[in-house]
Subunit: 67 residues, 12 copies
């Protein structure tokens, strides 16, 4: 792996933090090739009427650049 | 959302980190109205006899103040 | 608890972050006695072909020293 | 100043960051006596249609406790 | 807001920090759609002959990705 | 310990940092029940005429919430 | 710019944060030549009777050393 | 320099950290115009059979946007 | 001092923070030779019935490795 | 207090951390007028033959500049 | 790589930072098997009579545990 | 070493980061006696036409004060 870029995204899920990570990587894979890893920077939940409505993650995604 | 307060709590669960978040928000909702979000600051586990006995989260809860 | 040591490990799982925590504590328990807690420092995922192949955690494990 | 408490709030203004600080302190003064200072932790703007709609600050407010 | 990207920019103004924020968001809006917020990371001033010649901000801009 | 709150205070003493911690916890105990621990975040001294006039600590106090 | 020194100051203003930056740079220019920039590290306000009495900044000032 | 973007990359070299920085900037220059600076965020080495096989840097690259 | 290792411990005392540091270094000296220094990372107190029952420090201990 | 400078020193004592703070402020007072406060940044101990030989503090000292 | 440990060392060289990294990894390889990487945490130089006498690095070394 | 001061400088070199450290210490030695060490805080490169034109370091220099 010679040179890689790191890009930051946030994504959310009504199910769980891990589903939010999965959603984010799937969306990123539509436009970025060769994603290698993601580092979870932050985890937050949105609350409505005293209950969790959304799990949200902020993450840094690393993908290898083509030569 | 004009002015909101942020308060810090820790909560625990024998099941999972997400259940600990849920327990904390439910307990906080007993005394705080209008909770909007929670930011997970730390995640720890308590271990007994080599097995996880408790999932614990420290989080910052944001709730809107009434005018 | 008079004096405790803190050691840093990383562990992984193909299932979930919580399973990675569990795997790490089980492996550490083979050589360390009296583990009391673990603090999750970092969470990353490894990605292959646009899908998560591995959940990885970096954590600090605290264990009490015998006198 | 013997003992003081520190509480965290966020507040917003459509005008400027300094107006957001001012709004937050005025609102906090309704319920807290003896506010001495505020430390600006974060500054964010909300954007709508390419223009700033809201200036938002997160701050830590210190107020002295009565004996 | 399902998935959003976060991008980092710096921008400057000879007038004020808030004008630097405004300039940066206007420039970013030329190429990025659906900007939702910006977080001010750093504020610096450039000095020439003992006077401020430029207000500069570094900020993280969040914009929602189209599906 | 199911759910606990964390609150931030500063306190001072003319004697020592440890006395400042003690003063802060005694004052906090007047209004908070079930204090379990305090984490010392910052230590400062006030100086007058080249001599220390006050030892000051900023700390985060954790107390368990009643059910 | 071969070698530069960085010095830390705090300054205040009753008007605004930007005026506090300006006051600090003007005062520093009395004794330091060749100031090139200042990085705003912290922003606080002093509050009296529920109103802001002082805007205060802590900043790092960079100035080039003569050969 | 009115508005600049900051992008994060990692790059590697079998020779040295400075060669890794050089490789990364050369690769980035293929797609980004007007690169002005790079800030080295992290330095790591990969080890194989007790010897360093790769020097790796993570850096933030600043480039000026065309008007 | 060619190569040194750094290890993290926590230790406690019912007397003071400095006694906790002393206890930790004495315990560490039983198994580690050539301890050179310790850096205090965190200071906490345990509270029981509104009074401090334990002073606790987390520290990083540096010791030189034999050749 | 219009404009103040902040300078960083380390000082040591064979007695205690507080004595190290005191020694540092006394030494600084020989050359700096109007010292107002000191913020303790780091605390380390030097160890010789398994015993603490020196308490060392790193601190930031704030002193007011004459007009 | 299922479970890995992370250990912290400092090492030095009279030649360069990269030689200090190399020295540290060679020394660590005497007692640790399966070292995979090292992360450079800090770089310092020791100075004698106005000249650099020693390059020193603090690094975190990751090595895989045998099953 | 009883009391030492810490001062921050930045220095640059067209050759390498280590040469920048060396240049900075040599320049500092013209006005500061008894420099003991320097801690590298930041490393940046300046880029012109896609090539590195300058290696720059920001460092904290510690020097012992005469009694």
């Amino acid at each position: 792996m010679a040179v890689a870029r790191v890009t930051e995204i946030t994504s959310s899920s009504s199910v769980s933090f891990e589903d939010a990570v999965k959603q984010g990587i799937e969306r990123a894979s539509k436009t970025l090739r060769n994603i290698k890893s993601a580092w979870i920077q932050e985890q937050t939940v949105t609350v409505e009427n005293g209950a969790i409505s959304e799990y949200r993650v902020n993450m840094k995604i690393t993908f290898v650049l083509d030569d």
